[in-house]
Amino acid sequence: MKELTSLALEVARSSGAGYADILINRYRNQRLSAREDHLTGLSDSESFGFGVRALVRGAWGFAASNEVARDEINRVALLAVATAKANIPGRREPVRLAPVPAYEDVWQTPYVKDPLRVPLSRKVDLLLAINREALRVPGVKYCSSSLHFVREDKVFASTEGTYLEQVLVRCNPAYTVTAVDGRTGRFDTRSHDLPPAAYGYEHVEEAHLVEDAPRIAEEAVRKLRARPVTPGMRDLVLHPSNLWLTIHESVGHPTELDRALGYEANFAGTSFATPDKLGKLRFGSPIVNFVGDRILPGGLATVGYDDEGVRAQRWHLVRDGLFVDYQTTREQAHWIGQKASNGCAHADSWASIPFQRMPNVSLLPGERPLSVEELIAGVEDGIYIVGDGSYSIDQQRYNFQFSGQFFLEIKKGKLGEPLRDLAYQANTTEFWNACDGIGGPEAWMTHGTFYDGKGEPGQINAVSHACSPARFRQINILNTERKL
């Protein structure tokens, strides 16, 4: 492989590139899906190719191909340089890359069982057992379950002497139960809360997916019969299975530096968290601490090195409630006067240009043990929310609206009856400043997604968010029931 990477870099350099890098990636994706008593889909895909990025007089060019062969590498490297040259008249200011040491290293996700080597029959049996257990519950009509496994073998090399080989593995088990009341025409769903994670098949085996199915199914039925929520200002206690998505949207995206400086304006928008607010903006209450983290065990954005050869690290984005830093790449560090990237470059494919993507962004736990029950005990009139549901946030990350999977009323410090038709809506900094309780280290858990979207052309990114349960005072609750 080194011979091929050297060829690409040499061609790029000799045709005018001041800097060049190459990613040669092989992806394996295996997907299984089932509904009720049968398997509906089984697929196994492989994608192999390379992409060359060239910097010529401060302008980028990129080209990629699925033919990993000497002639094609030569053609693609020349095309990347030619594209960069075409962009020189249009660039605003020359790209400057923050320095990075040259590494030669190998790294892989610390998994125990390669999910692609686990016998298919075990995976099929698991999905059908989940569905069977869920469908035993009266009122449940449908159950859909799925498994998705990814293995990435990636090689990165740059003209600065870095050569890296990494193997990334991740798993995404999921299921959704649907309850239907034929008489009233009402229906509702409940999805399992198990997150995807960068572990091997042991993540699936240790998850009690089948054992949980009756409870998940019963909660789908309970949602059907639940009382509609009364709208108004209420206290919230959010389980990590709900809070991770709120962190993702209201903290993860606004602290992307390219977004804050207008580079995503035409797609997802910009950010309220502009560089002039660094060290000044009271993002949350003093107990709120967020970190960018590419070393989180099991984290979907956990790597050895990012896609421009910067070593994985962890750093504060918000410290004691104060906004203190961004997610950056080598190109971006100097935009805010920093000397080094914090390692957030990522390309979702050999055919994609590496750019700034979200690391795992996590809410640090409180220093002392504090359980979800203790958080609930401090609420006179509120709501406890488990699982992620509908989610939407504006193009500068101020106004958001989230729902959930399962809602329970809190009265006088105790959990009560289930509620339905509920969403919470807030402004990001008002919400995080309303946080007055964060669970302890013992309650810290990781959730996440395979499918975070950003950029044009759109790229996806797998990312995790760890947090403990947390409490928020006087948040706007909506009733989302409508009559057509």
């Binding site: 697929s43 035409n266 193009q395 989302t480």
Partner: protein, 441 residues
């Protein structure tokens, strides 16, 4: 890489020749993508990629599985066939499996434009440099995305079906923001022919809207009459289209389910002014003429004079219910009326003019309730005139309510679609629910 039709036929024959399954289906997806991205009046990234992916579905009775690769050497093709067969043999029987299709007749959908296929990085850069220069002189920060794609989809089966569809597409969109950050405008379009793309006009439209939307005033949330520009209509209707599924409706888990059982086909669910159709062969909106199984796309009327006429029906669901499958939704057209946007504004005592929406998500599938945010040009219309820009709103509303409350509709035009070509009109509708105000610009 893009294969000619003869090359595609040869490759699919070669792969089917390796198959030992009872039945087999091969898909080809060849693609060449080229793009240039810009922000703050300067080009940021630009690139191109080519790929060719082969997928094979192997079938033994009711057992099936698929495998794919983008490696085209003999050994890799043999390996992918064997991999799909090994998986299929291990798979349990799928009672819903429908057998592989024989040859089909497809609508003529001419979608290849040679000038578009030959667009270069220099061509894209030229348009962007001119737009950026003009924006800079006008005190505007322009950003955007210019993408061109040539794609060829192929399908072949062991029962003799073969189809191949090369096509070109381009998309250009731009967001213009005032330097003080208080105004933002957007314009964009998908095209199938280079001659239909006017980068200069789109750039001017976005810039003009940014200036006009600067320093918005805040209005209280509530129910408003709205005038939605075609892109805003498309943003909502694409979510409605996702829900047009016959099986979900028959199973009682859709807004199109009839309480007590069955679907609401035959019911008037929205205003009689509303039709919604797919017309795969429509010039300038041509979609892919077949789906992943080789089933032909056809003209389908989803709503006619407000009545729900069809829901998307798979081959399995059609066979179970003794109906016909609809085929894929190749494009989406709301044929609309003859009202102009200007006439809608003139006729409005008090209402909100919306350029487009953002971050739309389902809130409740029971009513198709959606939430999202207005973006890039939201204005108060008063006494028949645009009075002033307003702060963006979050909405919580169902597209079915929007279409039920329609007062006026314009002729449709091509917009930026969500995965399929779309042509949508501007719509004036009443009692649209804005639930909160956003500070976002």
């Amino acid at each position: 890489m893009i294969l000619s039709t003869d090359q595609a036929r040869d490759l699919t024959r070669r792969i089917l020749g390796l198959s030992k399954a009872a039945e087999a289906l091969v898909r080809l997806d060849g693609v060449e993508r080229n793009h240039t991205r810009f922000a703050n009046n300067g080009i940021t990234t630009s690139g191109s990629s080519r790929n060719l992916t082969v997928s094979i579905v192997s079938v033994f009775g009711k057992r099936h599985a698929s495998a794919s690769t983008n490696l085209m050497d003999d050994a890799s093709l043999a390996e992918v066939v064997q991999r799909s067969e090994a998986l299929a043999r291990l798979a349990p029987e799928d009672p819903e499996w429908m057998s592989i299709l024989p040859p089909q007749n497809y609508l003529p959908t001419e979608a290849y434009d040679d000038p578009l296929a030959r667009l270069t990085p220099q061509d894209r850069a030229r348009g962007i440099v001119a737009l950026s220069r003009r924006s800079g002189q006008a005190g505007i920060l322009a950003s955007g995305f210019y993408e061109q794609e040539t794609r060829a989809s192929g399908i072949a089966t062991s029962r003799g079906l073969f189809a191949h569809h090369p096509r070109t597409e381009a998309s250009f969109s731009t967001t213009a923001r005032t330097r003080d950050g208080s105004g933002s405008g957007w314009a964009g379009s998908d095209v199938g022919r280079l001659g239909d793309l006017d980068v200069d006009r789109l750039g001017r439209a976005a810039s003009d809207k940014a200036v006009r939307s600067a320093s918005p005033k805040e209005l209280p949330p509530g129910k408003y009459t709205v005038i939605l520009e075609p892109q805003a209509v498309a943003d909502l209707i694409s979510n409605l289209a996702e829900s047009l599924d016959a099986r979900d409706a028959d199973e009682g888990r859709s807004v199109f389910s009839r309480p007590g059982g069955g679907s609401r086909i035959g019911e008037r669910m929205v205003s009689p002014k509303v039709d919604l159709i797919s017309e795969p062969a429509r010039s300038g909106l041509a979609g892919i003429p077949f789906d992943d199984e080789g089933l032909p796309a056809q003209r389908v009327t989803w709503f006619e004079k407000g009545e729900l006429r069809h829901l998307q029906t798979s081959r399995y669901w059609a066979s179970k219910n003794a109906t016909q499958p609809t085929g894929p939704m190749a494009n989406l057209i709301l044929p609309g009326g003859t009202d102009s946007l200007e006439a809608m504004i003139r006729s409005t005592e008090r209402g909100i003019l919306v350029t487009r929406f953002w971050y739309i998500r389902f809130v409740d599938p029971q009513t198709l309730l959606l939430t999202g945010i207005t973006r890039d040009g939201t204005f108060l219309v008063e006494k028949g005139k645009i009075a002033h820009p307003v702060r963006n709103f979050r909405f919580n509303e169902s597209p079915l309510s929007l279409l039920r409350n329609v007062e006026m509709i314009s002729a449709p035009r091509r917009v930026v679609g969500q995965g399929i070509p779309m042509a949508m009109p501007a719509i004036k509708s009443h009692d649209f629910t804005f639930s909160s105000v956003s500070q976002a610009v």
